[in-house]
Symmetry: C2
């Protein structure tokens, strides 16, 4: 492995000049620059990142805690990670993966990684309604950005990027309305989830705006599972609500709904229009395909990295992105 010193010797300049050729080429006379670059190429020189980091005390590494929630499979994690990685690389950075216990128990791990200079900061995801991590990091002065808002707070404890769940639900309602549905139900989660309330509110408000009924048409599941989605659907149907549309808070719940509909001989996309959330791989795997709201992963990742790595001052550090409705057979015109 060639070093700066060797390149300098080869190009007959000082190490400082080689360093400048790499980091501030405009400071060199064109002919010097060219000579140095030739030596760099000839010796196949690559700057040692550790030496650089030691000097500048920036490692250009961003920590991300790989989630491990056995009961909640992260169906779009691979998409998110790829987008995050690509966005980081566009700024010369990379993602360092680590594991940590959930909640506040994991914070020493975050602290340690930062203190030992393994990372410059963190991207948080899987943000929970009472997530304690944000306030903790803020207090320690450790840089971070959150994918997802901390709902219990009136003011957010730090910079965040999120997808507009209310707008997503509203888009789903409007779409079902436009395909002829007039009695559109909502299958959600408990009130304690801020994310769930956001999406629920979007459904309710859009229904009202369109003059559609909402009372008796929403139901809260205890957990995000197929069985709960099926149970909720059964309950709605058994109550004689005469639905013709269902907006489900997640693809998993939507799939549960789909199963129950199929069991009763009801075809999604004919008698009932159905939509999910997240556009997970599951959505494309069922038949009919599930209409779902896609999170714009590339944009999300780009904003996260931009905020974390210190965009030009004055850049807003709170960004709400719009989901995109991906239309498939489950919401075909009735």
């Amino acid at each position: 492995m060639a070093t700066l010193k060797q390149v300098a010797a080869h190009a007959e300049v000082s190490v400082q000049t080689v360093s400048n050729a790499l980091n501030a080429p405009h400071r060199l006379r064109p002919d010097t620059l060219e000579r140095v670059n030739k030596s760099i190429e000839l010796l196949n020189y690559r700057p040692n990142r550790n030496a650089r980091s030691l000097r500048t005390s920036a490692v250009e590494l961003i920590g991300y805690c790989v989630p491990n929630w056995p009961n909640q499979t992260h169906l779009v994690m691979d998409q998110f990670l790829h987008a995050l990685c690509a966005a980081a690389e566009r700024t010369g950075r990379h993602i360092l993966l680590f594991t940590a216990p959930p909640g506040v128990d994991g914070m020493p791990t975050y602290d340690d990684l930062h203190a030992r200079r393994l990372v410059d900061g963190f991207v948080l995801s899987q943000t929970e309604t009472h997530d304690p991590r944000h306030a903790w990091l803020k207090e320690q002065g450790i840089p971070f950005v959150s994918f997802g808002r901390v709902w219990k707070e009136t003011t957010q404890p730090g910079p965040w990027v999120d997808v507009d769940g209310a707008a997503g639900s509203a888009m789903a309602v409007r779409h079902l309305y436009e395909t002829g549905r007039r009695r559109i139900a909502f299958i959600g989660w408990p009130k304690s989830s801020g994310l769930a309330e956001d999406r629920y509110g979007g459904w309710r408000d859009e229904c009202k705006k369109l003059g559609l009924q909402t009372t008796g048409l929403s139901i809260r599941c205890r957990e995000d599972s197929l069985d709960e989605g099926a149970r909720a659907t059964a309950a709605l149907l058994d109550a004689g609500r005469e639905l013709d549309g269902i907006v489900a808070l997640s693809d998993i719940l939507a799939l549960g709904a789909l199963r129950e509909l199929t069991r009763r001989g009801i075809t999604a996309g004919r008698e009932i229009g159905l939509t999910g959330f997240d556009d997970s791989p599951l959505a494309d795997v069922v038949s009919p395909g599930l209409t779902s709201l896609r999170q714009p992963m590339d944009d999300i990742a780009g904003e996260l990295i931009e905020i974390l790595t210190g965009a030009p001052d004055g850049t807003p550090t709170e960004r709400l992105l719009q989901p995109e409705l991906v239309i498939r057979g489950s919401s075909a015109p009735g």
Copy 2:
């Protein structure tokens, strides 16, 4: 942030002694050690990893290229990543994520990450039959270990860990046999895939061993999709093979089979026993649940890290692990 020097001053010893307290505590007299440790704790000292790495020229980071194959969702990637991360951490290491173009076009990225000392070596996965990466890395002398064998080679180009696909298929056949099935079909991929031939061979050999018919009972799909799995199932049924069992090469194909069976009013786990491969989240999501062969992720990850980070000399660098049959409703006794 406290430094070694500050800790040394506080404990009234030399920096060397503090370093030893951390890296070779047995060299210190117990009372000195205790005094140093007290200072370390008091000053909340954390060794700077960059400085250490610069000196030792080991970064304790392992590169992993996050796959992005739009047409082949990596359904168990989150499990794999979590296991890999945890295994790395057990040795004080971490995973650095990066993106690279597929095949040989991506190799300069690997080379660069290694040359600039961002990583010590790589874990490869998504190994393809004609994967050029292994030989390339070997030639460059860049450390790596592969999850999955390179099938075209007679001798493997480097250390690997893999799951015994033939044994997996055999387990599936035996299980279906034990639940009363006697005409067990195989739905696979093209011959060009080594992985597919491995699993196919396991089905064929186990059937022969049990005295079961195989001719006319295997079919190759063009790609790993629901539709292909459904098509293959339809073809087998239409040919009047009177199947009572299906071993599918993947969960995706199995789900396709399940769809076709359901469409024809055939219940998996009653008239026909069905198994998949990989125990992806999908397996648990359908109804009936899909019996599938789980890859032992924690073991795989542990072996990968052990091999890559230089286990004691003489440790074998080729390890074939056994999958585990996870039994669900799709193979209930007929």
